[in-house]
């Protein structure tokens, strides 16, 4: 995020796009509520009437899969209604002419035909956004999990550039990161193109620095992304997959293809805290300590380093992740030894000018330090791009537009619905942690849920909590129907935490060409009524028991499932 979470509540306009904070980040949603109470105008673009849409001044119920068309139309309005900041655009941006040429084709009326959002509301949204002294854009997976995602990210950032909404408090762009340390994992270089501190692997000077520090020659060629593994394995290019703290069989699209991939690799190493679905395909499983059993530093979604402590001793013959990896490295002939996490941290910040001042001592002093933090004693940087200097060779912000591309798999006669995956507020990611917590399990449990519009549910004669089959060209699973007045007709939404109602058996492996993020938000699906509900209930029970037994859990699952179904709404 260019700006911090606390700044959200002081923005005069919040422009929320494909982001449902109430379910994914309740404590960020809290800032949205505060902003509203402080008088901010709130504009929400989302096909669902989310909690934020419910309290918004303007809700734009967009048709799934049409983001780019709407964002181009926003830019169109900024130009044609002369709402943009000409002085800012001249001084701090580049690419205006090419940008203008594309977006001028996306009149609000043209966009209305594609997106379903009334042209008048598109204009109104931009008048509010451009007219506010501070406008903060927040987006989530509703932008990034499409086959056309990076283009939309650039398009939204362009709106902030066009209106001078960078380089000061309570403005900018907030792609609110989902997992607790997804920001940190990027920060420390678990990306195929950058070393820690976002230093390019193809930059000779940078590479020489790391070669010197690590004492070995390093590859000058950027690596491949994890989502490419199924494709590259098929081509015989990837032979070994070391999976650390992830469960791709549960979290990645088209689970059937992922299982097939894993079963045909020469080596699958799983390093985790729980036995998960991916472990079933592993050659070797390495047990690690969990949150609560070790210390370290996490990064918040707004670039804040925060130290976390160990609370209890781990049980069993487990080791901290860094120690396991060091042991493998040493055995492979590269001696790697650390006494503690602070030693590792110090090695890293010494290699990253952006993080240099964020020592454990300073983290302890300040509680949270948002990078950049170049020197010891520096309190961190709440917002980026001060002086409107951007991370480009010219330091100018790039204005960018692209033609809208529809999603890959459109609904048809056989699969007439759109399936999009979303989040459950009481569960997290692949659910190995929250699914083992009693209170959270009580709120929502297997087999999981499928949200459907009241109109679609009535047309299919489906009642709340009824079990249904959901299928796509890739698989078929069972889940409970949750009819809701907040859901748009023609689209169904499944949360991705469940084992029985596992929506990634159905999702499509269509990747954005740049980010390689899968199109989790759009594939064609169908829903079928199950006449014999007693049979269906038994099927769910048996299937769940079978999956748990395969993972070594022979005990009966707690009887929370039925209750959770009754509680959910």
């Amino acid at each position: 995020m260019s700006n911090g979470v606390p700044e959200i509540e002081d923005a005069k306009c919040l422009f929320i796009f494909g982001y449902n904070a109430a379910d994914s980040h309740p404590i960020v949603a809290r800032r949205i509520i505060k902003a509203k109470e402080k008088g901010a105008k709130i504009i929400v673009t989302d096909p669902r009437r989310t909690e934020a849409a419910r309290i918004a001044d303007l809700w734009l119920p967009i048709k799934n899969g049409t983001n780019m068309a709407l964002v181009n139309a926003f830019a169109n309005v900024l130009i044609t209604e002369d709402l943009f900041d000409k002085d800012y655009v001249a001084k701090y941006t580049e690419g205006f002419d090419a940008y203008k040429e594309i977006v001028l084709r996306y009149t609000p009326e043209h966009a209305e035909a594609i997106t379903g959002v009334p042209a008048a509301d598109i204009r109104k949204a931009m008048r509010i956004y451009a007219g506010s002294p501070t406008s903060f854009i927040l987006w989530g997976m509703g932008v990034t999990q499409y086959g056309q995602a990076v283009d939309v990210v650039k398009g939204l950032s362009g709106l902030a550039l066009m209106t001078g909404n960078f380089g000061k408090p309570s403005v900018g762009c907030g792609p609110v990161r989902g997992q607790n340390n997804v920001q940190g994992t990027c920060d420390v270089g678990c990306l195929p193109n950058v070393y820690p501190g976002y230093q390019s692997v193809t930059d000779d000077k940078v590479r020489e620095k790391f070669e010197k520090a690590w004492g070995v020659p390093l590859s000058p060629k950027a690596g491949v992304t994890m989502t490419m593994v199924p494709h590259l394995a098929q081509e015989g290019k990837i032979k070994a997959f070391y999976v650390f703290g992830e469960d791709p069989v549960q979290s990645d699209p088209d689970a059937g293809h992922m299982r097939h991939t894993l079963d045909h690799l020469d080596l699958v190493v799983v390093q985790d805290i729980f036995f998960n679905k991916t472990s079933m395909h592993a050659h070797v499983v390495l047990p690690a300590t969990a949150w609560g059993e070790h210390e370290g530093v996490y990064s918040t979604c707004d670039r804040g380093f925060q130290h976390f402590n160990k609370a209890v001793e781990p049980k069993g013959d487990v080791k901290p992740d860094w120690e396991i990896i060091s042991l493998v490295a040493t055995r492979m002939g590269y001696p790697m030894h650390y006494d503690n996490t602070e030693e590792i941290w110090n090695e890293m910040i010494a290699l990253c000018p952006k993080y240099a001042g964020a020592t454990y001592e300073m983290l302890d002093k300040y509680g949270s330090i948002q990078w950049p933090c170049p020197t010891v004693g520096h309190p961190g940087t709440p917002y980026l791009f001060s002086g409107n200097k951007f991370n480009t060779p010219s330091t100018k912000g790039n204005l960018f537009a692209a033609e809208w591309r529809p999603p890959k798999e459109l609904p048809d006669e056989e699969y007439p619905l759109v399936l999009s995956t979303v989040r459950e507020v009481s569960h997290y990611s692949v659910r190995t942690m929250t699914g083992n917590c009693a209170g959270l399990q009580s709120v929502a449990d297997e087999p999981g849920y499928i949200q459907m519009s009241v109109a679609d549910a009535e047309a299919m004669d489906l009642e709340e909590n009824e079990l249904v089959w959901i299928s796509s060209r890739r698989g078929k699973v069972m889940a409970r129907i949750m009819p809701s007045e907040r859901i748009n007709k023609g689209t169904v939404y499944m949360t991705y935490h469940w084992w029985v109602g596992s929506c990634n058996e159905l999702t499509i492996d269509n990747l954005d060409p740049v980010s390689k993020t899968p199109e989790y938000k759009f594939c064609a699906a169908k829903v079928e009524k199950v006449a014999d509900q007693a049979w269906a209930e038994q099927y769910v029970k048996d299937e769940y028991a079978r999956l748990r037994a395969r993972m070594g859990c022979q005990t009966a699952a707690p009887a929370a499932a039925a209750e959770a179904a009754a509680n959910a709404n």
């Binding site: 309740p26 404590i27 607790n180 340390n181 997804v182 940190g184 990027c186 920060d187 270089g189 690590w214 070995v216 590859s219 060629k221 950027a222 690596g223 992304t225 994890m226 070994a240 070391y242 650390f244 703290g245 992830e246 791709p248 979290s251 080596l267 729980f274 592993a282 050659h283 690690a288 949150w291 609560g292 370290g296 530093v297 990064s299 918040t300 925060q306 130290h307 069993g316 013959d317 901290p320 992740d321 860094w322 990896i325 493998v328 492979m332 790697m336 650390y338 590792i344 941290w345 949270s368 507020v425 009481s426 190995t432 942690m433 929250t434 083992n436 917590c437 009693a438 748990r548 699952a557």
Partner: protein, 139 residues
């Protein structure tokens, strides 16, 4: 009297600071701590998301020892030495036969922390010799 341990929530990216309440070496509760982003508040996951540490086996079970697939194809418990040796030998062999770019390692965007991820990318780059390091940022 419970001991309070200051930590950071392991769930979403909001980065809420919280206290784990520890009694007799066991976590018994959580409460909000003053943090930059959360200001003492917590949602349900932060407040009630710690009892998995007790290996409740509500969903699945904690891993408590290294496992290696035996001749019958079942995962069976082995020593750390054996497990580490197996991983090192197989990775070395695959690297030798197919080159370092035939191996892909992941970081973990969840509980392990920045230090463990730093070590993983260093391992991938310096020991395996590839930039094929990624994590679940896209999922």
């Amino acid at each position: 009297m419970a001991k309070k341990v200051l930590t950071v929530c392991p769930y979403c990216g909001a980065g809420c600071r919280l206290y784990l309440l520890v009694e007799d070496g066991k976590v018994v509760g959580a409460e909000g701590a003053p943090g930059r982003t959360n200001e003492g508040t917590l949602c349900l996951k932060g407040r009630y998301g710690w009892d998995y540490l007790n290996d409740t086996q509500r969903l699945t079970k904690r891993l408590t020892q290294p496992l290696l697939r035996d001749k019958s194809g079942e995962l069976a418990g082995v020593s750390w030495d054996e497990a580490i040796g197996f991983v090192a030998d197989r990775l070395t062999a695959i690297k030798k036969k197919h080159g370092p770019d035939a191996i892909l390692c992941t970081g973990s965007a969840r509980g392990p922390g920045n230090e463990a991820n730093y070590v993983m990318q260093k391992f991938t780059r310096a020991v395996i010799g590839t930039n094929n390091i990624d994590h679940c940022a896209r999922v």
